[in-house]
């Protein structure tokens, strides 16, 4: 997990338990605009190469992909899935947020295509901009790339689904992962999401569309969970954080609801995964995590996400092991 409260699952839990609130910052890219005072959550610093065990593939990653891959790697290492399951039997069920290509990548390319009349010119774009563009840009903007890069790093080769761009889509990914384990379609599922909602263009979109309530601020974030049958986890002597007894998504006509929003910022697609992961860890902690349970969240796509997580009780149930 990587959130505005901490660069790991443990750090995030600890910060939440301690009552911390994300530090906020304004965006330089929006200075001088109507959004000059708009705040986003600041993110903790971390060394991605160190967390991922090398620089392999980092050059292909957008900010969201980087967060997602680090979170996925943390979960996979914690559950030791690579050592315990054939890659073909591990599923990947994930979600990503709105497109958030780096302005640093895009603006020079566009600059090359401004004509004498001061307007964008397709001819100059074809003639000059493409030549000046790093071919890797495509990999940074395709929506499925963050989870796909994670599949390559973790060696996951099984069934998969990737959704986008809001909370309800991540809820669907988590639900499909849970079902895939329950039905035996996979032996183990990596499920989660990453979002970079603090990207300047996304902030403009969110404000313009009225998707942020008063006092809310956008945040980047990512969380992945490993789900597997209880029996397998026990057999392999793995630590079991919690049991997922039920999970559901349903249409809602109510307002959006996100218990993480005020302290962590709204990380949209990442939020259901962060919430579920915190809920599982909450059970594992002696004094729990206040305000996390019950797992309930309703996003801007008006899909309500509910999950029942509890302490390990029934060995037939699926359990979240990382």
């Amino acid at each position: 997990m990587v959130t505005s409260l901490g660069a790991t699952a443990a750090a995030t839990c600890e910060a939440w338990r301690a009552g911390c609130v994300a530090r906020r910052r304004t965006l330089e890219e929006l200075a001088g605009t109507n959004l000059k005072h708009a705040e986003v959550a600041g993110m903790p610093e971390f060394d991605a190469a160190e967390r991922l065990g090398g620089r392999r593939m980092i050059k292909y990653m957008s900010e969201a992909a980087l967060l997602g891959c680090v979170a996925a790697h943390e979960a996979c290492e914690d559950a030791r899935i690579r050592e315990r399951f054939p890659p073909e039997r591990i599923g990947l069920f994930a979600a990503t947020g709105l497109a958030s290509a780096s302005l640093k990548d895009l603006l020079p390319m566009i600059r090359e295509s401004v004509g004498e009349d001061g307007r964008f010119s397709c001819r100059l774009f074809g003639k000059r901009s493409l030549a000046a563009t790093n071919p890797l840009l495509s990999f940074k903007i395709l929506a499925n790339m963050p989870p796909c890069i994670a599949s390559m790093i973790e060696g996951i080769k099984g069934p998969n689904l990737i959704f986008t761009p809001w909370e309800g889509q991540t809820a669907a990914a988590l639900l499909e992962a849970w079902r895939a384990v329950a039905t035996g379609e996979v032996d183990c599922a990596l499920a989660g999401a990453a979002d970079n909602a603090a990207h300047p263009a996304t902030v403009v979109y969110l404000k313009q569309s009225g998707l942020l309530a008063d006092g809310e601020y956008p945040s980047a974030g990512a969380a992945y969970l490993v789900m597997e049958p209880a029996a397998t986890a026990r057999q392999n002597a793995r630590h079991i954080y919690a049991q997922i007894a039920a999970m559901d998504t349903r249409p809602s006509n109510g307002t959006t609801y996100n218990p993480l929003a005020l302290r962590m910022g709204r990380s949209f697609a990442a939020a259901p995964a962060i919430l579920l992961a915190l809920a599982c860890r909450s059970l594992d902690a002696p004094d729990g995590l206040a305000g996390i349970l019950p797992v309930r969240l309703c996003g801007v796509d008006r899909q309500e996400f509910r999950a029942e997580v509890g302490p390990v009780a029934n060995p037939c149930r699926i359990e979240e092991t990382a």
């Binding site: 709105l98 603006l107 295509s113 074809g126 003639k127 901009s129 493409l130 796909c148 080769k157 689904l161």
Partner: protein
Amino acid sequence: MRRVAITGFGVVSPIGVGREAFWDALEEGQSGIGPITRFDCSTFDVQLAGEVKEPLELPETVARVAAEDPKVGFAYAACAAALTGAGIERLGPGTLLHLGVSLEIFNLEKAVCNGKPDFKTIAERSLSGVEGPLQIPLDTGASLICDSFGRPDRALTNCSACAAGAQAIGHGFRSIRAGLCEAAVCGGFDSMINPLGVGGFQLLGALTTDNARGPSACRPFDAARSGAVLGEGAAVFVLEPLEKAVAEGKQVLAEVCGYGSTLDAYSLSAPDPDGDGAARSMMAALEDAAIGPDAIAHINAHGTGTRLNDEIEAAAVRRVFAGVWEHIPVSATKSVTGHLIAAAGAVEVGACLLPLVRGLMPPNPSLDRVAQGCELAHVMGKAAPFEGEYALSNSFGFGGQNATLVLRKFDGRN
């Protein structure tokens, strides 16, 4: 487990809008590929695409968005046709909407203000309403469909690149089969025919620059193939429990009876050279359908026309269908539609309906000489009669996502 019927099919494609026009063109091997007209591509190396030429009848709210993001209009029109075909007026409880799409449109013209790329000015203009929104989220197609036709239990937007449409159908199929919903409206829509879309794929070296070949530039499995051609459009299906559809007297176009999805976990831009992910995807779909390789009587290949894909796919097909592949005709309809990216898998399921409904397998009209390593029982020249029961459709995506669907002919007796 319940059997799953296709009761509605709507399509918007470079070779025709509406299923009859689409099937007619496929049967004739008519290509929809030609010079790009959407923007001035005269300085691009890539100058061909499969564009949707026909105007669509869209409600004002949809037309407004489609003016900026054409794929949204394709999704709406295909969905409306599919629902009409299935005799469904509204989405509601017990229904699922699941559509695949790949990439948000980036309007580069909007990005230039006062002679430079000026994000602050762009943001100001957008916030003040002078310009439209900075982003058109990928769920916009599904949202507009829900606004018009009602809210299903779940509205999902799948972004699994070239496998997205097939995954959406596979997920819809599994949901009906498991009794999780009573109708699944699923498919894919896409258009990358814009400067950044075409330019991005050109940079990756995935598209042919053999512009002189015009309509026959996309040449899956041909010795002279030199890359894919982008296409655009949408295909949407209505899936329902077979028993219910028959009881209600609905026309059943075919059954969906198997689905598999895998990951290569190999490379972002290139398929696994062993074709392992592709082969496992096909095998998973066959196993899901509870049939052996010898039951398949037609394959619609992913067949992009790129050097890498075609050879690897052909090898994977030969491995999965060892001993019988010489007798399984293979079509590659991207030769006439171009590569519709997230819509490709859905449009190609629509192409698989041609043999299952009309009894004819579409030809690969640009295949003159089969490339070494691409040996399969290709349908060359003209449409060939279909004799059998099952068809299989492959979709393999950037990022290493693979999806395969198995369809079955339904004649009321089986």
